[in-house]
Amino acid sequence: MTSSRRSVLKAGAAAAALTGIGAPHVARAQQKPPRQVRMVPHGDLNVLDPIWTTQNMAAYHGAMMYDTLFGIDANFNPQPQMVGKTDISADRKTYTFELRPGLKWHDGTDVTARDCVASIRRWQARDGAGQHLFERVADTPVVDAKTFRIVLKEPYGLLIDALAKTSTPLCVMMKAEIAATDPNTQITKHIGSGPFKFIESEYRPGSRVVYERNPDYVPRSEPASGIAGGKRVLLDKVIWDIIPDAQTAASALMAGEVDFFEVPPIDILPTLMAAPGMKTEVLSKLGNVGQVRLNHLHPPFNNLAARKAAQLAINQEDIQRAAVGNPNYYRTCGSHFTCGSAMGVEDGSEALMLKAPMAERQAKARELLKQSGYDGKPIVLLHATNIHVMNQTMLVVAQQLRQVGFNVQLASTDWGAVVTRRSNQNPPDQGGWNVFYTWSGGNATASPISLFAHAAIGKKAWFGWPENADIEKMRTEWAYAPNLEARKGVTSRINKTMMDYVHDVKTGQWVQPAVYRGDRIRGLLAVPEVVAWWNVERYA
């Protein structure tokens, strides 16, 4: 019987060998893994101009196909990228930049200083830090094909920091004729000089974005760090699969159809991590900072006591628990400038971070609201229901405000309608609003200058239109501070003033873990606010 079974098995094996069954498995085992990764990003790339829009997906696209003059490293220090040599004059008013050799556009032509000057000029028109810088720029002469200067009217310590920033819009370099496009009009040609080439013929908005390795790219010799250092491309192809449904994206990752899922909902992380081969990592360490914007133009929040009442009513812990859920990924924070960053001081945040029981806080808030003369008129909260964190946060904020005596009216809609209505400066009953919620990247928030939302210039400020001359004076002082310690000192004063004035109400910080196939890819870099695909290797 035993020998008979063996003979059947042998015969079967021989037949399989003859017919080729099993051969593909052998062949597959011997094949090298494809030098390709598939990523599910947080959104769709529907705009290809990283200057025209400040959407994060366009910044991701910019980092893939374009390059920057400087980049910040993993410790948030600016490092040269396309620039080979920087010379700063003794009076610190003239910066001379020489491009490193070997830089080529994707069409094979050389990157020139003229291209860089045109690109910087287009970028500054759309960037808060760029505008702040260019108010102090006297000229940007081209010296020769590889050298250009930025001449300042007065010394300004943030020039290189602004050029190196990773928050959107990145200061990416484009060909001069493309960069000549009006910054408020989208470019139509897509020629970069970055580590990957954008494959326009395979671009399917809402579905798929494809990049291929730029074989002409010459990386720097330093190791990759943040968005700086040597951008060594170890992949032939990177595909972004736009999968709007999180459950589908998670299933695709578990089935091995994609390799990287940027924003898995935190509640399905345990399921994902139970699958073999998965690895989770927080790539943007400073995460996101939430803020409730109060409309300073109209009652009740044109009154400081009413704003202070709202500040006391809002409890970060409750909001984060509802919006994020897992305490491993969120924290409360009393800084307007990102806890964990160099500027993350919490001076003056006693009211926001008050540890007293909620009942006590609410009693104080009610008292302040009474002092403000609030007449019980409904306050309009813009409530975007189609984005999970926004939906959850605003529901909790609404309840917290109700509990201290505000008559809350939720205007529930989608984010597309919120971004339109929030710009309306009319009173709430004429199409305006009183409260809305948003968040920004921790890296961008950490700078009093980079993030326009920090401005306090009244009707010309960001939505909410706070007006405070002291804050503005200190923001400028911060920009001129000679070193990090001096900047920290100024930041401490700005934070205290912003807290006392209740510029806006911070709702806490959270980080987003990404999940990827650790059994296939390695080498992902921690880059704030961008997903970088250089340095990443597909090994299985």
């Binding site: 290809l48 400040t54 809402g206 709007p244 589908t248 159809e257 809609t413």
Partner: protein, 314 residues
Amino acid sequence: MLSYILRRLLGVIPVMVVVGVFVFSLLHLAPGDPAAIIAGDNATEANIARIRANLGLDRPLLEQFGKWTWATLQGDLGVSMFSNVPVTQLVQQRMGPTFSLAFTTMLVAVVIAITLGVLAAWKSGSLLDRAVMGLAVTGFSVPVFVVGYIMVYFIALQWRWLPVQGYTPMSEGLWPWLRHLILPSFALGLAYVALIARITRASMLEVLAEDYIRTASAKGVATLPMLLRHALKNAAVPIITVIGIGVALLISGVVITESVFNIPGIGRLVVDAISRRDYPIIQGVMIIFAAIYVLINLAVDISYSFLDPRIRYS
């Protein structure tokens, strides 16, 4: 018949005009500003205003409508405000997946539903009949995304028989195309199986009670030819009507299935465009949908005369 078809085709024009006016007005009266969405969260109001001006959104509404109507009449549906890709190109890219899904879903639904409906009518009152009607109620009641997720969990994730998501065009091979459509077709088709099976059963029951069926049976016609040739053909008009409506609904209404199975079809194109107020895409697709609805209804009407010679159009 020819004059009838021509008249119906001419009738498409006023329908298009009404749809055009309605869609344009609705979109521009609804809250939302594409310029604000394009500019992004960190943009200033001045930036938004300049983008709005460059897109022509600051022009009077009548002027915008006039420009759009004139361009549409010339076959130009415009370009996406966001991606700058022509709307016709975007629709072409998305038609393949949507038509493929609609075709395979209808194929699955028609084959299964008519078989079940005929059997249920033939064995009316039996356990089989009750089982089919039970399935029909279940098919109607369970949302497509629930069926989809369950199928994905078992068939794609646990057993690894089929892919979880995605779409491969037929140009890359019949099997790669089909294997991405099997799960979504069955998930989406369940509701249509229920609908068509119920209509088939009801229609067949009516026909099976007719005298000529009894006569045919008395003359010794075998069961299968009697059911298919005599009964089903005469019961076909309401079934075809439901199938026609189903096809039209499938082309425009498969957004949930497209999302669950990540199929880059028309439904997702429109939903994405609505969420960011990409007016040219929404307007263009609505016009195309309206034309498709009218043409499918026309095709259904014409098919009646082939199925029932008593129906004549003049």
